[in-house]
Symmetry: C2
Subunit: 278 residues, 2 copies
């Protein structure tokens, strides 16, 4: 449970920090970022996990989203993990949608990935314990993410009932089993047996969920270059409607897939989570 | 006066755009970024120029400062130039505080710099005309910047009386003639004749200014690693006091020199300028 502080910057009256630690689950050194709001010193505050998309590490959201301002105002701790194991000895691929920066947050079961690509367990267990060990909270948490990280946030919440009070996503991959990003990643990390894929597919998981539902907010830009082939959030919406789920999908006119889109609506997402974390 | 659009992203209801154009003054191709707020379509809005610091290009502020939200709310166009001429054929230096990314916004008069490093004229004349040619405004403008860009913003305003309604800076180099960043750059770009340096030194320029003063706001972090050796904004403050200048220097406790500092107070700066741009 050791970690080393790499950076600390005063930000909106709180601190934006970055740490590294040895991950036994991933068998490599990992970085993560955390924002501690000004009230952290004298109050027990809730956590919001942010899972990032393809090609990102733990810094993109920290630098580009502008979330610190709202986390400071609302009193929320932000935890931002990396998107995959990292390092020279970690298997990788020359394409941007496989290997380092593209774990899809699964536990790989095929070679050469399985020894390191255990991001589901890393975030669910190891990082989660490390955070609880080192940072005081009020015990409540929610999760959010972008694109591949939107998939990660939704899937994590379906797989851990009662762990997250609310979930939100920007342009998430909701049905990875049926789109080329997901098919490629799942084939490489999980093999060709589709049953191994289902437990990481949010559409499948929502359809078969039999616990208390949690509120979901999704924002999707209409000018998103990945919308028609990779995202199609209406697939999850139609299941949500069938199951009478507390679910809101908002179409944001002219927004694309970038962090300019995330930055434009991150305040709404933090306000959304805040109401369930008090 | 031609330019080519490189990128356009919907951002807080407006558009964050990036362009390239041929600069005759710098004899190379240049990029600049511009934010057009949602009201741009149906109103004539003021401009705020942002000059960036060492190692930056036109994208750092755009990505890291979170200024679009406030520019959208207040109705201000943001113009962000690059910090130097660029390209394989442009003279450069291996240190980060000289050459590409480190023009100090001067017109160089020594070899090998003088053929391209004419950033004072580029921003004062060429870029300024290009912006006026292609974008409608209400005719009012202000200028702001960070570190080397804070020097640039102040110095530009002193050199162009009545052009800018207000000036603000984060951690500016106010007295480049007396600190090592400035001495090194001025020696290389301007030679060893100190008279050539004075017209780029804000302390000198404020001391000898004989036009209508313009309001100045400066924010300075107390944990800034460059504060004691390179910045010392109290030098400008003491001249401002002598001259009875409308001048505010705010010390921001525990903030460093990074964009986390800029992001934390950029709203205040836009509000400051807004009152003089209506």
């Amino acid at each position: 449970m050791k970690y080393v502080e790499l950076e600390s910057h005063q930000s909106f009256g709180g601190q934006q920090k970055r740490f590294k630690h040895w991950s036994a689950v991933l068998d490599c050194e990992m970085n993560f970022s955390i924002y501690l709001p000004p009230d952290y010193r004298n109050k027990n505050l809730p956590l919001l996990y942010w899972l990032s998309g393809l090609t990102c590490n733990d810094q993109n959201f920290v630098i580009k989203a502008g979330a610190q301002k709202y986390a400071a105002e609302l009193g929320m701790i932000l935890v931002i993990p990396d998107t995959s194991p990292r390092g020279d000895k970690i298997p990788d691929d020359s394409s941007y949608d496989l290997g380092q920066g593209a774990s899809f947050y699964v536990n790989a079961i095929t070679k050469p990935w399985k020894n390191h690509y255990q991001m589901f367990d890393y975030i669910s267990i190891e990082l989660s314990e490390l955070i609880r060990w080192h940072f005081k909270t009020n015990g409540k948490q929610s999760i959010a993410g972008h694109s591949m990280g939107g998939h990660g946030a939704l899937m994590m919440a379906f797989r851990h009932p009662n762990r997250f009070n609310s979930v939100s996503a920007f342009a998430p991959i909701v049905n990875p089993m049926q789109v080329s990003f997901g098919k490629k990643a799942f084939y490489h990390y999980l093999g060709d047996e589709k049953e191994a894929w289902q437990i990481y597919d949010s559409c499948f998981l929502m359809e078969h969920y039999n616990n208390e539902p949690f509120p979901i907010l999704i924002d999707q830009g209409t000018a998103d270059e990945f919308l028609s082939k990779q995202l199609q959030p209406e697939r999850l919406e139609s299941i949500a409607q069938k199951r009478n789920w507390p679910f809101q999908l908002r179409w944001q006119k002219d927004y694309d897939h970038s962090y300019y889109f995330v930055a434009s609506f991150i305040h709404d997402h933090l306000l959304f989570h805040h109401q369930y974390l008090k």
